[in-house]
């Protein structure tokens, strides 16, 4: 197993992987898996499928790591890979003649009011523009560290907070709330 410092930034980890330390890739997997899963969930609306798809995203990212133009922008690039994998999944799904007509059997069924509320929230997020979705997911998944992640997504800290505020505003409007209750 790699002895790599898990606090290293993405560019160091990418370099270690490119130099042959395959195990180092698990560090970025841990770091970004939740974000990738959340974006895959946006596309699939299915938790199990999102988990499978997110692994495909990381495998594809690993296999194409040498083509990453700027290792500092790994996270932004990974979001692009996620977008492509999800797009391909949608195309594949639309071609699939054996699609279920109803809801997929493994889709999470809300079991109580709280679950229904959470689902309503996630569906509303899924309806937002991609940049909004990314900052909102990063915010709720990574809390205080979200701004660090957002920096590597191509936003400054200030830009991140601007984008987050705007995204939360749009989400509040999407949910029919007159004021932003989400912080």
């Amino acid at each position: 197993m790699t002895k790599l410092d898990t606090n290293l930034d993405d560019s160091h980890i990418v370099r270690a992987v490119l130099e042959g330390d395959t195990e180092a890739f698990v560090v970025v997997y841990r770091r970004y898996n939740a974000l990738v899963q959340s974006l895959c969930w946006d596309a699939t609306q299915d938790v199990a499928m999102a988990q499978d798809l997110s692994q495909d995203v990381f495998l594809r990212a690993y296999s194409r790591l040498a083509s990453l133009p700027d290792s500092e922008r790994f996270a932004k690039w990974l979001v692009g890979v996620t977008r492509n994998v999800c797009r391909e999944w949608r195309r594949s799904k639309s071609r699939d003649r054996h699609d279920f007509l109803g809801q997929a059997p493994d889709a999470a069924q809300p079991t109580n009011d709280m679950d229904a509320l959470n689902d309503k929230l996630l569906q509303a997020i899924a309806g937002l523009p991609e940049r909004d979705r990314v900052v909102i997911h990063a915010h709720y998944l990574d809390g205080e560290n979200a701004a660090d992640m957002a920096e590597s997504l191509g936003l400054s800290r200030a830009g991140y907070y601007k984008q987050l505020k705007a995204a939360l505003g749009r989400l509040a409007r999407e949910l029919g709330s007159k004021e932003a209750m989400l912080e």
């Binding site: 890739f25 692994q55 200030a158 989400l182």
Partner: protein, 439 residues
Amino acid sequence: MTRQPTGDNARKAHERFRRHDERTFMVKLRRQQPDATSVERSHRNFKSAPAWVSAILVICAGGGLWFFMSGVDPQQAYGVVGVRDTLMQCKNMRVKGRRYQPVPGGAPGELREIPFEWYVERPGFYWITTGDDPGSYAVGDGSRHVDVNATTNTATTGRESPFTAEVRVERIIQRLIVGGVLGDSPGEHVKIGVDTVNSVKADVYEKRFQRQHGAYTRRVVWVDRVSGLPVAAATYHGEKNGHERPFFRIDSIGLNLTKRPNLATVTVPVGFQVEQTDNIGKDVHSISSGHIGDERFEFRMALLIDHGAVLVCWHYQDDADKQTAPNEIVFSPTGAPDRAFEHHPLRRTWINGRYWNWSLFAPGDGDESLYEHHESFRLHVGMRKATSSSSVTPLRFERARLADVILQAQSSTVPPPVSNEPNSLEELMAIVSGGRQLL
């Protein structure tokens, strides 16, 4: 009444994404072959690719195999990506090279070669050759500075603060070494071939920057194919007629040396006339200065405080009418004059007969990512009679060091009055974000 989701709901809703099936993933990863085709095949949810796509993939895989078997390192795709970061993270550097100058009174195009050597050690040790005489050098260690002039046989010495030495070291690294290797002009490096330099097999990259009237600057950098580290670099100036001359060349770059080279110490050498001074380090903060008619300008410290936002200390004044403030201030990335930054004036202070300005410039169009890799900016200042445009390359510091650097820079470059405290990093970021309350 319909219940509205709250932030807590949002956090709980996101908990479902925290499931890390790491073990399964690592099994898949270890099975993964280092070519893209296997991933495409492993994606069981995807339909089979059309036959022509498969054919291309097979050809590509074959090409990759040939590439590998022909002895070319398949992991050599570093390019120049990461070179800047590598240089910025080094503890010490030793660079030797040559610069070229027209021979005074010589034939047209005749050049003389001036060797140089720089050794820097973070945070505050430096030893660099200075001037045209090979025996001239400056050395400092964060407590004392010695400037030896072999032409006049004099040595100037005095105390130097650790902060001034640190700024000097960063300027040597960021302006001279990184700038000398990669340049600060906009544009992308393009691979133009493979070469062997200092017994190292290197990829050769080139970047061209078009200047006025058909002239251009061509920068070349040799990057070690195995380590991804820069080996050598050169800059050429070309004319519209295609005539090109060397301007600057770095012959060797030593990084993270285990031992300090045997260089002159921070003492005045025997036989030199000594000049003691308390003025050491005043020059280090100055970026550029000049006059246009009665108007004079000077740019001092410039710091990159976040992606794109720049803190600049500058002075611009009409000596005949000291009360007149510039009527136009435009700050934009070099090569992108239409992407002007928002100007946030911080302070205008009257010191020793001059108004000194501290300004914060932040990307104004909201797309801050565009400015991440801009190294150089232009500050265009318009007065009643004339306008001036000067290049500013802000220094970068590690985030952990930045807050203190910002305070020290404001205190030491142009000391503010006691009642006017320097702005902290947090205050500056709040200004950029347009309101701390949003955080």
